[in-house]
Each structure stands twice: as C-alpha cells, then as structure tokens.
C-alpha cells in the first residue's frame, strides 16, 4: 500500500503520480490521506489501480476515470466521477450535485444520498445509490442504468433517452416524457446484477423496484408535430 499525504505533497503531485501508473504496475494499492475537501482528487486515472481516499472530497473527484477503482471514505462534492469511462467509484457517504454526469461507462456507487442532477446526461455509466436522489436526476440520460434504493426528487428522467431507471421508494414527480414501465424478467436480472455489484444486494430485492424509462415521444421525430419544430 502506497500512502500519499495530499496536504503535504499537493494535488498536482498526486495526480501526476497516479497518471504515471500505466499498464502493468506493482503499485496497485494507494491511499490518500488528508483530502480535506480538496478538488479534483484522483482525476483522469487510466490504470487498474485501487485508490482509497480517507476523508471527504471537493469538486470533481475521480472525474474521467478509466479502469481504476476509487473509494471515498467520506462524502464527495459536486461532479464526482463526472464523465467516467470505466472502472468503479464508491462513495461511502453522500454525493453532491451532478454525480456521475455524462458518464460513459463503469460503475458509480453512492452509499448515502445523492443530491440534484445525479446522472445528468449519463451515456452508459451504471449508478447505484443506496439512499435518495435529488431533483432533475437522469435529465437527458441516454444509456446505462440508475438504481435508487430510496426516493427520487422532482422531475426524474426529464427528456430521457434510453437509460433505464429503477427506483425502490417514491418518486416526487416524473419529468417530461419519463413514464413508469413494466418490469420484465430481463430487467429483474439486470437489477439483481447491479445490486450485487453496487454492494446493495443485502439491502434490497429486485422485486421491490419500479422501472422508469422514456415514452419516446419527445426525441422521436413525429410528422404530426412538424409544425412545432
């Protein structure tokens, strides 16, 4: 285990050290101490390493992540795992707004609550939230899955494309063109796998969720609406 003291060694040194890890490396386990809410911790990683942040982080932690597993032993500020490509990011506490925004792949797990705009414009990332999510989550979400064990705030899935949304608790309101859909066997199977990978299989069962998706009326060109475009 390599230990990096962020307060003593600084952010640029941290990220350049982690960026230097490429291909096969023996230094696969890292711990970052004294994060103190700093911004841009462990962004742009591109190696199969395991990074544990001992404390809470500020803006954009683990952004653009590829391959790496990043664990935050605290809460994360705005934009955690933004535009993640692959790998896994696990937040033990809460995540602030737009967690996992525009993510193209990989898995984001939030063990507490996520606030507004979680998964906004997600494009392939999977997001599992153990608690609740705030308003405007999954806005314009294109693909990937979002699993919420708690409740969802206002305007869930507004202007949704083909992302799959699963919510166990209540949904304050659905956004434009987002509707409840039937849960078919393949969805239960997908959900069971996501709950397992999201370290939530002991907390909830697939049958307890409702599925939400796009009614496909907003983004599909309709000749009857031609005059409105």
């Amino acid at each position: 285990m390599q230990t990096f003291d962020l307060e003593a060694q600084g952010l640029r040194a941290l990220n350049s050290t982690l960026h230097a890890l490429k291909g096969q490396t023996n230094e696969t386990a890292w711990e970052i101490i004294n994060p103190k809410g700093s911004h841009a911790i462990a962004v742009g990683l591109d190696a199969p390493v395991d990074v544990t942040v001992r404390g809470s982080t500020g803006y954009y932690c683990a952004g653009m992540n590829k391959q790496a597993t990043v664990r935050v032993k605290g809460s994360a500020g705005p934009g955690v795992a933004e535009n993640m490509m692959s790998g896994t990011v696990i937040i033990d506490g809460d995540a602030s707004q737009y967690a996992g925004a525009t993510g193209r792949g990989g898995l984001l797990v939030i063990k507490g609550n996520a606030s507004s705009r979680c998964g906004i414009s997600m494009k392939g990332i999977d997001i599992v939230v153990h608690g609740n999510i705030g308003h405007m989550s999954a806005f314009m979400a294109q693909s990937g899955s979002m699993v919420v064990l708690g409740d969802a705030g206002e305007a869930l899935g507004d202007s949704l494309y083909e992302a799959k949304l699963f919510v166990r608790g209540s949904v304050k309101s659905l956004g434009a063109d987002c509707i409840e859909k039937e849960m078919r066997p393949e969805h239960l199977e997908l959900l069971a796998d996501l709950l397992k990978r999201g370290e939530a299989d002991g907390k909830a069962k697939p049958e307890e969720f409702k599925r939400y998706g796009s009614a496909r009326k907003l983004y599909t060109f309709n000749i009857d609406n031609a005059s409105s475009y």
């Binding site: 103190k36 809410g37 700093s38 809470s56 500020g58 803006y59 809460s75 500020g77 705005p78 506490g93 809460d94 602030s96 707004q97 606030s115 507004s116 705030g134 308003h135």
Partner: protein, 298 residues
C-alpha cells in the same frame, strides 16, 4: 461564484474563538471570491448600549473627532474604536436611530455598515486574508457570524458592493448567486419606505427580508417568502440578533454544505471551508435541500 461561511455557536466556551474560526473558513474560500470580502460578527451586547459600524475612505480624518461631533449632535456620550477604514461607535441604544440619521449630516463621507446592539460588519475590496488582517477579525469573539468572499457579477467591485449587506438593525445577509428581478423588487420596496445605498441585487434581498421582519414576520417566514418573490439563483445566509438562517432557491445550483455538532452549526459553500472546525469528523454534515428554510434561534 462567491463563497459563504457561517458559524452559529451553541457552546459559549467557543465564543472567544469565533473570529479565528471564521477567518480560517473565509480564507479557505478565497478562490471562490478574491474580489472583496466581508464579515458580520454578533458580539455579546452591553446593557443599554448599541453600536454603529461606519466606514470611510478617509478614515484618519473622518474618525478623529467623530465620537465628539456625533455625540454633540444627538446629545449623548459616544465612544469610538477605529480599525483601519472602519470604526465602531458605541452609544445608548435608545439613541441608535438618531445617531444613524445624524451621521449623514455630521460626516457625509462616512458610510454606515451596520447598526444594532450586537452586530459589527467589516468589509472591503481585496483578498479575504488581507481584509481579515486589516480588521483583526481573528481576535474577535462573538456568538455567531457570517462571512463572504465575492466574485462580482451584478455590480461594481467596491466596498459598498461587498457583502454582508445590512438593511435593518442587527440584520445581515450574504448571497451566492444572482437575482433577475431585483429592479422590480427594489421599486416595490422603495414604495414601501425601504432605502437603498447601492444598485446591487443582494441588497434587495437583504431589504426584502428586513421589510418582512418589520411587518412582523418571523425569520423563517421572511426567508420562506424569498422563494416566491425573488427570482434567480441564490443561496442566502441570514443573520439576526439571535438567529442564523439558510435558504437555497429551488434549482439549487449554488453549492451549500452544513455541519452541526453539540457546539455549533456551521455553513460553508464547500466542505473544505469547515475542515478545521473542532469535531468536524464526527459532525452531522449535510447538503441543505432546495427551497427549504433552515434556521436556528437562541
């Protein structure tokens, strides 16, 4: 951007350290607002006394005989403590309104930052660390306080455009965001008798809350009304003589984090503003919900 910090103490043993804790929080928020900085501190009141905090660009000359001149004008005993461009005048509390009115005649170049039994406001253009040092905020004690680091959007970078804004006795407000209907709200408030010293949008929010309080609203009700009558982006932190409140607009894109322990309630635009507070590792830390009023009163 803009940075906000706030501390409301529950444990009196922390009161001597209030200024030091707020200074540390304020300086951490420098990169959210390096234009100007300000701080409102509420101190334990002296019985029967009130304070007027004034500012002048020409402090040495303006403050030299100010206590005597103002005292003569209103017929009261006034003491003065100068700190850089600011001075705190202490006078009988029943003379506060008279003093506030008289100072316009006695020293037209001096500007009133705050008035009340407990509040003192210090604000200037410059980096937060320099502003805090000039007024020696780190050595101030108090019961609660609010600070702001400004990145200006809606009006000029001047002393009067810095936050906190105070539009009522012992009241203040700081703001991260921008209001879009401040001109029309200002007109309505002017018609209702409120006065304004700047073109700044935040001053309108402060006056809006002061006006509601004057009309008899409670702090929570006055803050609730901002959600229906003010349009734009905002996270507000409000201070009153015995209270401390937070409200965010329904879209809530301006960041906010709160922490509470048995000893204090703290506010920061970001968590990193609070990392050096005592007991933060075990504090209850949360993000205030959109369109939800939070307040604490003693």
């Amino acid at each position: 951007m803009c940075g906000i910090v706030g501390l409301f103490l529950k444990d009196a043993s922390l009161e001597p350290k209030l200024g030091a804790m707020l200074t540390d929080m304020l300086i951490t928020m420098t990169d959210r607002g390096p234009d100007s900085a300000g701080i409102a501190i509420y101190t334990r009141p002296e019985k029967g006394k009130a304070k007027l905090t004034v500012q002048s660009a020409n402090a040495a000359e303006d403050f030299k005989t100010l206590a005597a001149d103002l005292g003569k004008a209103i017929g009261a005993m006034i003491t003065i403590v100068s700190k850089d461009t600011h001075a705190v005048l202490t006078l009988p509390s029943d003379m506060l309104d008279a003093a506030r009115a008289a100072i316009r005649e006695v020293r037209p170049t001096a500007r009133v930052m705050s008035a009340g039994e407990e509040i003192e406001i210090y604000k200037e253009v410059g980096l937060p660390k320099d502003v805090a040092r000039r007024f020696d905020v780190a050595h101030m004690s108090g019961t609660h306080g609010i600070g702001h680091t400004r990145m200006a959007t809606e009006s000029a970078v001047t002393t009067m455009g810095a936050h906190p804004f105070s539009t009522g006795s012992d009241q203040c407000l700081v703001h991260n965001g921008s209001l879009s209907n401040h001109n029309s709200v200002r007109r309505t408030l002017k018609d209702a008798g409120m006065t304004f010293e700047t073109e700044n949008d935040t001053e309108v929010a402060a006056a809006f809350i002061s006006h509601k309080l004057q009309e008899g609203s409670k702090l929570g009700e006055a803050m609730e009304a901002t959600l229906t009558d003010l349009d734009g982006f905002f996270t507000f932190v409000v201070g009153t003589k015995n209270g401390f409140g937070v409200v965010r607009d329904p879209i809530a894109c301006k960041p906010a984090v709160m922490a509470e322990t048995d000893q204090y309630v703290a506010f920061g635009s970001e968590y990193r503003a609070m990392v050096n507070l005592p007991g933060i590792d075990t504090a209850r830390v949360w993000e205030p919900e959109p369109a939800t009023v939070y307040f604490w009163e003693r």
